[in-house]
Symmetry: C2
Subunit: 296 residues, 2 copies
């Protein structure tokens, strides 16, 4: 079946910034490859740790502040919202003034979007991004960066048609559904379910302690786990629109890529590739050793 070329995946906004999207449980005490990359990009700037996703943010900020300080990132500040009204509070807005990065911690994606969406505070986050800053999100803070985000769906079982819940996200990434804690919580089923809904969305499942570093045209993989790319552009059949709610998903001809640290995914072409020697060198510098074993 000849297929039109899939619409290129590109970021919704056209900032000069970078997104670091983490699958949750990133290493905070050992090699900390992912946080090291965040610290490297923020440099001497200020990183705002947004604990908005959490109902009880106690301790989150301290853990990150300590980890980042040990990595040479001195300037951190906490952004928490008790309610949506505070997203208009000048003191909160000030926190983002001149910031180099924003880091969304985990919790509940709906808490983030319902409090932050369409507020002056979110405008400030976008400005950081547009100025060339780095926006990071881990766990719920990762899902929330999508235009249409995954909110709920069963893990450790195959997808049943009626079980997925999605909602409008912050929209920093478009045409991509990001899922986190991916292999650890057995989420292949629900990601396939999300892609089946509309294959224009590229499914990206990120393991724990694993991240994608996303710029305008591609992303590269960092961390100890894998990133699953579910490309539905050549799907020839699915029962998503014809089955009952309790029906098990059936979908044919999905293209699946499994990327590990160093691998790169080209978003316009929807193609994975290995790191170039130059990219590998940069990675080795970050990981403080070999990027990837290369036996003869």
């Amino acid at each position: 079946m000849p297929k039109p070329k899939p619409e290129p995946v590109s970021r919704a906004t056209h900032g000069r910034g970078v997104l670091i999207v983490i699958g949750g449980h990133e290493d905070k005490e050992g090699d900390r490859v992912i946080l090291k990359e965040v610290a490297r990009r923020v440099g001497r700037g200020r990183l705002v740790i947004a604990t908005v996703g959490s109902h009880d943010p106690e301790g989150y900020f301290d853990t990150y502040r300590k980890a980042f300080k040990e990595l040479g990132l001195e300037k951190t500040a906490e952004l928490y919202l008790g309610d949506r009204e505070q997203a208009h509070d000048p003191k909160k807005l000030e926190l983002l003034e001149g910031a180099k990065g924003v880091f969304f911690t985990g919790g509940d994606q709906l808490r983030i979007t319902s409090q932050l969406g369409d507020t002056p505070l979110f405008e400030r986050v976008l400005e950081v991004y547009k100025r060339g800053g780095v926006i990071c999100g881990t766990s719920a803070g990762a899902s929330v960066l999508c235009t249409t985000m995954l909110v709920r769906g069963n893990g450790e079982e195959s997808h049943r048609l009626g079980t997925l819940r999605m909602a409008p996200g912050l929209g920093l990434v478009k045409h991509m559904v990001i899922d986190q804690h991916f292999a650890e919580r057995g989420r292949m089923g629900r990601l396939l379910g999300a892609v089946a809904l509309n294959p224009v969305e590229l499914g990206v499942g990120i393991d724990e302690d694993t991240a994608i570093v996303l710029n305008n045209s591609s992303f590269s993989v960092l961390g100890s786990g894998a990133v699953y790319v579910v490309d539905g552009s050549s799907v020839s059949y699915s029962n998503i629109a014809e089955g009952e709610d309790e029906c098990t998903l059936s979908i044919f001809d999905v293209r699946l890529h499994l990327l590990a640290q160093g691998d790169v995914f080209d978003l316009a072409e929807r193609r994975p590739r290995k790191a170039t020697p130059r990219e590998r060198k940069r990675l080795e510098k970050l990981t403080g050793g070999e990027g990837e074993g290369d036996a003869a």
Copy 2:
């Protein structure tokens, strides 16, 4: 990249029989769609329940005997081996005389192969199959039907190159690696790892309470979960041979199909398809209702 057509997947033996390969935890008290299909095929014949996989088979046989009796299958017999020597015991061999089916229950795949492989008893199992009988296996009893079987590998994490353990199986199915408890135990990672080793093997991951009914040229899906078909024939790259043991698997261009009840997979063509109206009718008879919802 032009690719030679993958070698057709076909059964290792050329019996007239059928294999029913179950992902574990098949329903034994409710609708029992899978056991009903076993009972239908065995009919008035004898089904030998082989509890060989279990270190302590206590109770296994009784549960199955009761379930099958309620489904109209009256003649069941238990086959258990205390040690390999018993696989030469004339009394055990007699159990399989004229049997219409053999059902391998769960446990430890190595217990099955190490006790049964290359014995007169296994010859008798093969004879049942060649005569047109039905050979079933659930959980460990499913994996064991392959030529090279998956013995151990981590679930709920992405595959690390050194973690997979495989062994020679009973060889009733060739060019297929079967994994069970698939979505429930998050086993996509290890199945991708097995296919990466040699993409001539078709990866088949079967959920709990789900089965494939396999004949010479195709299989169809039965039960409440899904069957994941991982086709590595168009894989363009993997790091399986170059990475260190603790390295995360990277593999590009896997073709993935997700099949639900009624769907059929053609093994020679490596293509999935929906059930024909005739197949759907047969399925409806078995499930006692609609095979699959078909909304306008």
